[in-house]
């Protein structure tokens, strides 16, 4: 079983060279790009969720294989890039695992058991965000992407589903 898992992980790993190149990016522009892309797409569908108690919290997403840390908070208007100081919650995983989570192909608890996802800091806030996002249907999120981009997301999902 462990071998199956390892093989599956290896199959879906980022090519090392891509990781190295992306890892050279300074964190601030990467955070800005992430926040902007997020606000222009999925935020339209997520804004109605009950963000009480989440507003003002600082989040950090660490993409292990890219050695990249994205710092942001959630405001009434969407995500806002933050300076890298004292986040309330830190999520750490590889880029591919974050992508698989976002595409609803992977179960966060399974990744946690396998030590591929770590939630540090305020666990309650971390679990709340995880559960809230789980409560939104994939199709709803998909609707928030402009047509061609939506098709790319669907294609990527199909491809990854087979790995």
């Amino acid at each position: 079983m462990a071998t199956n898992m390892t093989q599956a992980v290896q199959k879906t790993k980022m090519p090392e060279i891509v990781g190295k190149l992306l890892g050279q990016l300074p964190a601030w522009p990467a955070t800005q790009a992430f926040v902007t892309a997020f606000n222009l797409t999925v935020w339209k569908k997520l804004r109605e969720l009950d963000w009480d108690g989440i507003h003002g919290r600082k989040f950090c997403v660490v993409i292990k294989d890219l050695q990249l840390a994205l710092h942001f908070s959630v405001t009434q208007k969407g995500l806002r890039a933050e300076k890298p100081v004292q986040p309330d919650v830190i999520f750490t995983a590889s880029l591919m695992d974050f992508i698989r989570l976002a595409l609803r192909l992977e179960d966060p608890d399974t990744l946690f058991f396998n030590r591929r996802l770590l939630i540090e800091g305020n666990t309650d806030v971390g679990l709340r965000v995880k559960n809230m996002l789980d409560g939104v249907e994939f199709e709803t999120l998909l609707d928030s992407f402009p047509g061609p981009l939506g098709r790319v997301v669907m294609y990527a999902r199909k491809k990854l589903q087979q790995t």
Binding site: R104, D109, T110, R115, T123, D124, V129, D134, G135
Partner: protein, 336 residues
Amino acid sequence: MPATLLELICPAGSLPALKAAVDHGADGVYLGLKDNTNARNFSGLNFDARSLAEGIGYAHGKHRKVLLALNTYPQPATLSRWQQAVDTAAEAGVDAIILADPGLMAYASKTHPDLRLHLSVQGSATNYEAINFYHQHFGIQRAVLPRVLSLPQVENVRRHTPVELELFGFGGLCVMVEGRCLLSSYACGDSPNTFGACSPGHAVRWQQTPQGMETRLNGVLIDRYADHEKAGYPTLCKGRFEVQGETYYALEEPTSLNTLELLPEMHRLGIAAVKIEGRQRSPAYVAQVTQVWRAAIDAVKANAENFRPQTSWLAQLDKVSEGSMHTLGAYYRPWK
């Protein structure tokens, strides 16, 4: 042959999870409301009136059942909220409610005589006298048995009660007699029975340190995982403790229950339903596990004698399991 045989009952912590269960072959889903009236009271999880109505509509549209868990114990000051939850469930049109508290059973049977009642695993009824008591007094129609009985003991219960039996088939293990464990309460002041969660998020801290990933419950170190080790849920029963100079899983290793190979036996005993644990898990988990169990139950019903769990099923279930192994739990043990 009992009217209901091996119904597949799957967990739903959210609307997408409910739809995943229904779409992948669950006969019924069980769910809870967004508060401590159920034993999976985690932030951001569960159903409000709107998602409950939509979920029931979706499931009933495909002729599947919705069971609502109200399986914590109300306190005198909060009793009315639990009673309101019973009313909400009845008005929303759920197929049954799953109860642990006898006071709530009395309320439900008096106020909503047509509402079907199931006895929760949290009710901790391990013998037929207890189950028949609930049946006679409150009209309980199904009992979920605690995961502490061996199969011969289950058979003995089955022979002495008209109440349908539901057994846990797969998922996280709660090693104590359910409904009676005080470990979480001891460590963080909140127990599954009243707060609705074992090791609630506010008491849990994970931290990567040079020595490994540490899990703390209310500040107390309960486990530390080396990089190659699989992690488990942050519950005290699955912590590693120093006992007489040795540090190990003194109570229970992180393992998952998996009873796939016992399905023919459950079929023979006339078990009404098999329950999959995991309302705290994602729709992806629900879809994967439901699919496997649907196929397995169909295979048993078609030919119980020649049933063998397929290796691909076991691999799929192992992949999503807590801990690095699975167990048949108490169902398969020689001692009583």
